[in-house]
């Protein structure tokens, strides 16, 4: 229950930010549907309230150069910057770009890893959504190859 309440609280804050940034009509929901439906890195980060996008060497994306199989591709996002609210992991050429969004708080390092599906070779992004509304990104190209017989 506490989980639910906290998530809702965050969403309320988020919706407020979005309204301020010029996104009226954004549905208040625990799950950021707009973010996960977005077809581009830009649209996905906008859905998390970011007003500007910039590359940053203080954000790190970890992913392999080559994935033997697109079904499971390890990816990690991290940053040492203070004032980060969320860390997003995105795959540019997936049908929907956003893979996962991790909320950052004082209790955890801003460093998360998971594994994503990739439909094809693509740039993958780590995006840090900052408290000041900036979105800072790092990207890396991951080649998806055919590892086996192709049968």
């Amino acid at each position: 229950m506490q989980t639910r309440r906290e998530t809702l609280k965050q969403s309320a804050v988020l919706a407020g930010l979005l309204a301020a940034a010029g996104f009226p009509g954004f549905a208040m929901a625990a799950f950021n549907k707009a973010g996960f439906d977005a077809k581009s890195v830009q649209d996905a980060t906008k859905a998390f309230g970011a007003s500007s996008l910039a590359e940053s060497k203080d954000v790190t994306i970890i992913a392999p150069d080559i994935a033997e199989n697109g079904a499971v591709v390890p990816m990690g996002a991290s940053t040492s910057l203070p004032g980060v609210k969320q860390l997003l992991i995105l795959v540019e050429k997936n049908p929907s770009t956003l893979v996962a969004a991790f909320n950052v708080n004082d209790a955890v390092d801003a460093n998360f890893s998971t594994r994503a599906k990739m439909g094809q070779s693509s740039d993958v992004y780590a995006v840090a959504i900052m408290a000041d509304g900036k979105a800072l990104w790092a990207k890396k190209e991951v080649k998806v190859t055919l590892g086996g017989c192709g049968g």
Binding site: I66, D109, G148
Partner: protein
């Protein structure tokens, strides 16, 4: 901050991707990818399930498998994986891990082993056999393969398995040896273990059951052989059939001295 991935990955990632080095980089890239996956193998999920299934009272006889004899006496699990297939006096048959588990499920729990053998991989009690095999294999992690060849049937199965390994057929004339007869070969980017002798620790027979990332399934040795035969364009080998067990005997005996890494993670 704790380093999440091994240092070798960072080193591999620092390499520039120049065309002249493209091939070298490709295989290094694959190694890096595999290293990243090795930590956190979803096979653990199946291992946990298998252990639970072993201890739980189930089936028409509402009994656990804790009295199952996998070759080293009733209830002994550690070390059995690296000695299978072997001859069992009660069934008068050479059996691999999976066919033996099905026998135990019949004898102790009252399941019908023939029905289990007919169940598709990944379904019903067949999925349970796979989970059980995953757990049993994990209990021998790091141990070296050492199959018995003392019983006549074990020797005969080795010889039959050898013939099956070299049997060319189907539309493509493939035998197991077409891909696994020479050292250092690969299909596409996939390294192929040589299987006419021990390919080394954790390779070939010593690497299955394995979690396949390409389809998110847990693959037992029976399924590994089944899919090899499918891609060889051969007809369908029955689960636990003499051919699959004879072939496993050949591979297992050849793997002598190789340390098991099962359950592994594979492409």
């Amino acid at each position: 901050m704790k380093t999440v991935f091994p240092l070798s990955i960072a080193a591999a990632m620092a390499l520039a991707l120049t065309p002249a080095m493209a091939q070298k980089t490709a295989s290094q890239g694959i190694d890096e990818y595999r290293a990243m996956l090795a930590d956190g193998n979803p096979a653990e999920l199946f291992e946990a399930k298998g252990e639970d299934l072993w201890k739980k009272a189930r089936g028409p006889k509402n009994a656990s498998l804790e009295k199952c004899d996998l070759g080293k006496g009733p209830g002994v699990v550690k070390g059995v994986f690296v000695e299978l297939p072997r001859f069992f006096a009660d069934t008068q048959r050479v059996q691999d891990l999976e066919s033996r588990l099905a026998s135990c499920m019949e004898m102790l729990q009252g399941f019908n082993a023939a029905e289990i053998a007919k169940t598709p991989f990944g379904r019903g009690e067949m999925a349970n056999v796979t989970s059980l095999a995953t757990w049993v294999s994990a209990e021998s992690k790091g141990l070296k393969f050492n199959l018995s060849q003392s019983h006549t049937q074990e020797k005969t199965f080795y010889e039959v398995g050898k013939r099956l390994f070299f049997q060319r057929g189907g539309t493509h004339d493939f035998s197991c040896a077409s891909c696994h007869g020479e050292e250092g070969k690969r299909i596409r980017l996939q390294d192929l273990p040589i299987l006419t002798k021990s390919p080394g620790d954790g390779l070939g027979f010593a690497a299955w059951p394995a979690y396949r990332v390409s389809n998110g399934q847990m693959w037992s040795m029976q399924l590994r052989l089944n899919d090899c035969y499918r891609q060889q364009r051969f007809p369908y080998p029955g689960f636990g059939s003499d051919a699959t067990i004879a072939l496993s005997t050949y591979l297992g005996v050849n793997a002598k001295g190789a340390a098991s890494i099962a359950p592994a993670i594979k492409r």
